[in-house]
Every structure is written in structure tokens, then in C-alpha cells.
Symmetry: C2
Subunit: 316 residues, 2 copies
């Protein structure tokens, strides 16, 4: 079981490599939701997302010999860039398996951070097979984007920092994709919070975590037709039990709610947040409407997970 000490040690370990991102507030948005919101702005994190935390922690856990052989992951999203930048900062080679269909802008990001791209056919099997091959051939250590204890602990440090500034948060909202962020955040809340409830936000179009919590086993997604491209992945066997034990529930939101939440934050707060982050905001909005009296004047944290948006493909 992950301990409070592991989180604290992790935070000290990764500190030189990450930003302690600012916490933003907005009177206008508070008015809208009737509560006091604290936005932990991981869109300002290095590489533009919280993923930098877990990636850094995972690499720093490696032995000297392991570091020599580098790391490998499969991701077409923020973890690809984060692992590349974390590896570059630490002086380690990063192999990134990406589907050949990944947008050019993501590949450029990985290359800019010194990651070595290996293109594969766009199936789950192909990317896992290629990552395994690279690990076998080069000796690189495979690091999973979300289902890895070191990664989970690293992601939890964002909520730790937020609780350091706002120890009496009564709610914390996170987006749920692969489950690393919400698992880590729920551990941070367990050890460093005080009567704080952790809630996840998920698109109706990729509600595997919602269904998994109900059925008690990891469920997949049949379709993932959502703008929140970071949330299409499913939970893993390491983070799922942590989520089962420490997360109160998952709020599902539809695509229109996601876009409206994103637009609200862009317009009111002048923050570029990606659709996946908007899911957590939309979940808080939905929750505030359905629990108006309970939610009123509460202290509410929201993890703004990232700000990596393709400006050529905006929903407004």
C-alpha cells in the first residue's frame, strides 16, 4: 500500500524537475457555481500537463544501469511529451511508441523534447508489441502512462501542493482517463486532506471508470467518441483498487457540457485548458446543479490537468 511518506519523498525527489504550478481563482466562476473554486493549473506544468510529475518520478526510481538503457512507453498524448522531457532533463534516452496516425503536432512535441519516435500500426496490440520489442532489444525500462505505482504517486503531488495551499478543501475534482491522476490525487487527499471528497469527471462517451466502479471490475469502452482525447484510455489493475477505495464517485458529462466548461474557463479566466481538463470543470458544474444546497460556499479544488490543445481543431 502506498504510504504518506512515499508521497512526501516523491515530491521532494521530483521538485527540481517540475513547476509548483499556481492555484487560480475567479470571482466570476465562483458566482456561477456558488462555491469557492481553486484551480490547480497543471496546464502551466512543464510539457503542458501533470504527466510530467509521474514521468519524472518513474525515471528517477531507476538504477544507474537501468537509466543507461533508457525508457520506453506507448502514448500518443501528453505522456509521450512528458516522458521525453523528463528523460531529457535527467539525461536518459526515451523511446516513444506512437501510432502512425498520431497528429504531426504531437510528434513534433516529442521530437523537440528529444524523444525517439517509433511508429506502429494504430492498434493496442501493435503498440504493446512494439514497446515490448524495444524493451527487449535495448534493455529500456517500460513505463506505463497511468498503471504504474511510481507514476501514480508522482501524479498525486499536484493535489498535495494544492492541499498545501488549501488544506481545508471539501471537494476535489479530477478528470479520469487511464486513472493515474485520480488515483494519485485520492491518495494525496487521504493522507494530506481533511474530510475532502474526491470526485472524478468522465465523458459519457468514455465512461469506463463510472461503470467499473459500479460493476466492481475494470470495464472497457466500446466507443470513445469524445473531444476529451486524453480520457479515452481505461483503468488498470494497479490504479483501480486505489480508486475503488478512495474515490467517492464519477460524474459523467456530455460533449456539450465539456465544450461549454472549456469556453467558460477560456473566456472568464483566460486560461488555455484542454478538453480533458474541461471535463473536471463540467463535472463540478453538473455536481453543483444537482447538489445545490450541499455544494454552496464549499471549498472546491479542481485539477486543471493540461493545456495542450490543437488550435486548428477548436470546438468553437
Amino acid at each position: 500500500m502506498v504510504t504518506a511518506n512515499q508521497l512526501s519523498v516523491c515530491h521532494a525527489r521530483i521538485k527540481p524537475y517540475i513547476h509548483n504550478t499556481p492555484v487560480f481563482t475567479s470571482r466570476l466562476v465562483n458566482k456561477e457555481l456558488g462555491a469557492n473554486l481553486f484551480f490547480k493549473c497543471e496546464n502551466f506544468q512543464r510539457a503542458g500537463a501533470y504527466k510530467m510529475r509521474g514521468a519524472t518520478n518513474a525515471i528517477l526510481q531507476l538504477s544507474k544501469d537501468q537509466k543507461k538503457n533508457g525508457v520506453v512507453t506507448h502514448s500518443s498524448g501528453n505522456f509521450a511529451q512528458a516522458l521525453s522531457l523528463a528523460a531529457q532533463s535527467i539525461g536518459v534516452v526515451a523511446h516513444i511508441v506512437m501510432p502512425s496516425t498520431a497528429p504531426e503536432v504531437k510528434k513534433i512535441g516529442v521530437r523537440e523534447y528529444g524523444g525517439i519516435i517509433h511508429e506502429c500500426t494504430p492498434t493496442v496490440e501493435a503498440r504493446q508489441a512494439m514497446a515490448n520489442n524495444i524493451a527487449n532489444e535495448t534493455g529500456a525500462t517500460f513505463i506505463h502512462p497511468s498503471n504504474d505505482e511510481h507514476v501514480i504517486i508522482g501524479q498525486g503531488t499536484a493535489a498535495m501542493e494544492l492541499l498545501g495551499e488549501q488544506p481545508h478543501l471539501e471537494y476535489l475534482f479530477c478528470p479520469v482517463g487511464g486513472g493515474g491522476l485520480i488515483a494519485g490525487s485520492s491518495l494525496a487527499v487521504k493522507y494530506f486532506g481533511s474530510k475532502c471528497r474526491v470526485l472524478g469527471g468522465e465523458p459519457f462517451e468514455a465512461d469506463d471508470a463510472y461503470r467499473s466502479l459500479i460493476s466492481g471490475k475494470i470495464e472497457g469502452n466500446t466507443s470513445v467518441n469524445t473531444i476529451a482525447d486524453g480520457l479515452k484510455t481505461t483503468l488498470g489493475d494497479i490504479n483501480f483498487p486505489i480508486i475503488q477505495n478512495n474515490v467517492e464517485g464519477i460524474i459523467r458529462v456530455d460533449e456539450e457540457e465539456i465544450v461549454m466548461a472549456m469556453q467558460m474557463i477560456w473566456e472568464r479566466m483566460k486560461l488555455i485548458i484542454e478538453p480533458s481538463s474541461a471535463v473536471a470543470v463540467a463535472a463540478a458544474i453538473s455536481y453543483s446543479k444537482n447538489n445545490y444546497k450541499v455544494f454552496k460556499n464549499k471549498k472546491v479544488g479542481i485539477i486543471i490537468s493540461g493545456g495542450n490543445v490543437d488550435l486548428q481543431k477548436l470546438p468553437f
Copy 2:
């Protein structure tokens, strides 16, 4: 002549009504320009722009009797919203003369902040005439958006705060529209800076300040075909002499440079900045290319003037 003391007293006066906005930095953008940039983020100011500073200062200068009769201005841009919010915060009525053609989103903003909109035909003469009429009928005090000493001093407090954090800035870039921001900023630099050069950014398509500095008299614009809608206005007789005395020069940038600078800040820094702010960034980029050796490793301030963007009309 404006004194250092006037600036200091103004800052203390408006402090309870404004945000001391954060100063952002970016390693990626520093690398791009070869210098150390400090972005004073007035996009996070109340009402989304630095205009809140000058508007607040101007209203707080009024006598009790004047306050009773309210204030009036003509503006279709950020000053309309800023004066409305400043007036609301202080408990004063604000009359805002806006052209009937002003975008609905701007009118909604003014109304949300309690401003009373008076629509006029969209000519300079019509808006001045209507503002005069309102002043005569209601006794409201006319406050010009940029050519007013109290407004100029108020706008200078953003640069004051920036210099408080970074006293050894060697350059300061501001966008130039009506001239209030750069005039105030240049006074702040004069009194609180140390060998800092003030440079303005202007679109080629509205380069009245550039031409005015050369000819030595206030020049108008014949066309204003620029995306930087906040910079279409011309200098006034109060701010022009301040600019002549304290600003080193104006860097002109074309529309493509403006959009590229805006996109760079959105993508790299996750900050929503409006096109007028991007003009100052584009000017710094252009200057860095033309003065590569001089500019290298210098400490450079940029006033990010605002973040009010119509998401329906983005240039990318």
C-alpha cells in the same frame, strides 16, 4: 508634469480594486527570443485588461458630488467594460456610449458589470456628441479611455508592479493604441526603472504612433485593417508629449507576425492573450531578430495588455 509620487499614491489608491497580476516566464519562449522575458499578465486583470487600473484611478479622483452624477465614456472595447466594473466597484453609475455596430458580446460584458449602454451611429463625431449630451444632461464626468492624466497614471501601475519584481529590466515592450498604456508605462520606467528602454508595438495597419514620433505631431490612421482591434485609436495631446519624451521607438509588425506571436503565447504559455497584446510580443520578436547581439540575454518586460478575445472569430 507627472511625478513619481503621483504614481505611488495612485497605486496605493487603486490597490483594493485591482489585481496585482502575476508575472509569467517561459523557458521555451526565452529560447526562441534569446532573452529573458517577463510577461506582466494583465489578461488576468479584473475585466480582462489593464484598463481597469486607469478607469479606477480616474473615478477615485472625483469629488463626492461628481461621484453622485456618475461617469460617461465612449468605447466599444476594453475601456467600456473596465469603466463599468470600476464604477460598479466604487458605487458610481457608468454611462457607456457604444456604436450600434459593436459586437453583442461586448455589450453583454458592459451590462454584466452594470454599465448603462447608449447606442450611437458608428462615427467618431456621433459618439463624442452623444457623450457630451449625456454629460450635460446627467452631470456625469466624461472620462477619456486614454487621453486623460489620471487614466495614464493608472495604466502606469502595471509597469510599476513589474519593475517591483524585476527592477533591472533593460527593455519594456507595450502595445500602442490610444497611447495611455505606453505613456503611463514610460513614466513608471522613468521613475522606478534603471536604464530601461521603452519600446512600443504597433500594427503596420495602424501605425499612427510610429508616424507621429517621426513627424513630431499627432498623425491619424487612414485605414485600420488589423486584427488588433484595441490599437485602432490614435494618440492624444496629453499622452503624446509623454511618449515623445520617454519612449525610445515604435516597432511595427504585420498581421502575420501578430497572429504567429499570439499562437506562440497560446501554445507555449497556455495564456489567452488578445491580438493587441500579441502586437507587443511580435514587436519583441521582431526587435530580437534585428538586434540579435544587443538583445541577447537581456531582461525584457512585456505588458500583456488583455485577454478579451471573441472565441468565435479566432485567426487560427
